[in-house]
Amino acid sequence: MIVAERKPLEEIRRNLAGRKKVLVLGCGGCVTVCLTGGERQADMLASQLRTAAKVAGEPVEVTVRTPTRQCDREFIDTLKADVEAADAVVSLACGVGVQLMAEVYETKPVLPAVNTTFMGAHSGPGTWTENCRGCGQCVLAETGGVCPVARCAKSLINGACGGTNKGKCEVSRDIDCAWYLIYKRLKARGDLSFLRAEREPLDWGMSSSGTRRTLVHAEVNDQAHRRGAEGAEGAAERK
């Protein structure tokens, strides 16, 4: 899932620039699971904003909503009345949600309350760790289920660099060397053929460093268009 970190209150307040009616918008998706932007955290941010405003002697009115997800129009179209009543929206969703909100409610400032950091797993109590970088050409079948693109600091594809040290990465003793893990796992499975294969450079054009990517499920898309043509208004725009 997508993991995010709360921004400092001062930064959020700075971005609000004294706006008086604020809608704090949690998100019921990923940021709820990583304990950064769910209903509870939205309530907490609201009370922090109220307290800070009070201390500063600025009148402020804060309301809170937490839709199921902010990355889907289905769940944010219904927020119209709340958004219109506010001077600004502070969104605790990841960057995806913030952008969709800003697109749907074009005239309203939608301000991020979190820094979206990575795609990762719940790896320990209160701990999340990056595991995927969305490179668009998954090699996990060959690497024993350890991603060298996300987990090797240099995204190497032909094996460990000279910095690998006692199973740790050269950049930090707290980070496992991805290629050490891959070697150990493939070795345990008795098949080092992936390690031996000379691999061509990755196609970064398919990855997050390429251009903006779109996924279209043609079947679903066609259906929606047909419905649109039959008069089911709006459906076609949602591709």
Binding site: A153, N158, G159, T164, V171, Y180, L192, P201
Partner: protein
């Protein structure tokens, strides 16, 4: 025409040295030292490429300045800072400037250097860089025309391609596998990470007996006992035996350089039987290289 290649091919035990470009434009001191102390005793001189991710003058520029002074350079090229467009472009430039020897490296991570905020590139890895050089040599590049056909170069370069390996890594099997891949991708010579344990090195050389390219053992001058201890504790794949550290610790301050040179010379002497050359990394003690070679008896 690489004299360095010829020297290794002749079976002569071959020496290479190493210099680091300056942080600034004052390049004369390092060039002068190279001319005075490395020119006569080394077949070629490596020029580091933004080593340890600490910003310095371009390796290619300094390589060319060596060429002008009659010294054959080995252009070190890391994949950390340039994508495949820039790497290929610089490789063509190197060929045009008379720089033929190229050592392919991944390069220490940006966070290890003095520009921690820099965007690390790593578009290719060291194997990919070797593949790239081979492609250029064949007259094409990594790209494609609009029709999806290989691009044709107007003039193809020729390189003497090298790579590195860490012989005393804790886990040596993956090191060997990667070395096999580098050689399959076109590496024609190997310079190793620093070695201080001749027995471990001999064992490593036996285990790569099937890899038929010349190997030059890496020798980093240990300047004092503190440095020996530091390398042992912090540099991946470097093991400094206690006896060496003890010799440095026991040395009189005035004698330290002599002892250091003696240790390096003895290491080469003890390992020259199982490899084809030595790559000496003096870390600023360039003046000592001739004495190290003398002490090695080679």
């Amino acid at each position: 025409m690489s004299k360095f290649r010829d020297s290794l091919a002749s079976g002569r035990f071959t020496f290479t040295g190493e210099i680091g470009p300056p942080k600034g434009t004052n390049v004369e001191p390092v060039l002068e030292e190279a001319v005075h102390y490395l020119k006569d005793c080394c077949a070629a001189v490596n020029v580091t490429d933004i080593q340890t991710a600490v910003m310095r003058m371009s390796s290619l520029a300094v390589c060319r300045m060596l060429v002008e002074r009659g010294i054959e350079p080995v252009l070190q090229m890391v994949t950390r800072d340039r994508n495949r467009l820039a790497l290929q472009s610089d490789l063509l430039g190197a060929a045009a400037l008379g720089v033929e020897n190229v050592l392919a490296l991944t390069g220490d991570h940006t966070t290890m250097g003095d520009h921690k905020e820099a965007k690390p590139v790593y578009d290719l890895d060291s194997v990919g860089l070797l593949q790239t050089m081979r492609k250029l040599e064949s007259g094409t590049d990594l790209g494609r025309t609009m029709k999806g056909e290989p691009n044709q170069l107007d003039g193809a370069p020729k390189f003497f391609k090298g790579c590195v390996v860490t012989p005393c890594a804790e886990e040596v099997e993956p090191q060997i596998i990667k070395l096999e891949k580098k050689v399959a991708a076109g590496a024609e010579f190997v310079q190793t990470q620093a070695v201080y344990d001749p027995r471990a090195f001999e064992k490593f050389m036996k285990s790569i007996g099937h890899i038929k390219v010349p190997v030059m053992v890496g020798i980093v001058l240990l300047k004092n006992a503190g440095m020996a201890k530091y390398m042992n504790a912090n540099v991946p794949g470097v093991v400094v035996p206690k006896e060496i550290t003890a010799r440095l610790a026991a040395a009189d301050k005035k004698e330290l350089k002599k002892v250091s040179v003696q240790i390096a010379g003895e290491l080469i002497r003890d390992m020259r039987g199982c490899c084809q050359g030595a790559h000496i990394m003096p870390l600023g003690w360039d003046k000592e290289i001739p004495r190290v070679i003398e002490a090695s008896g080679a």
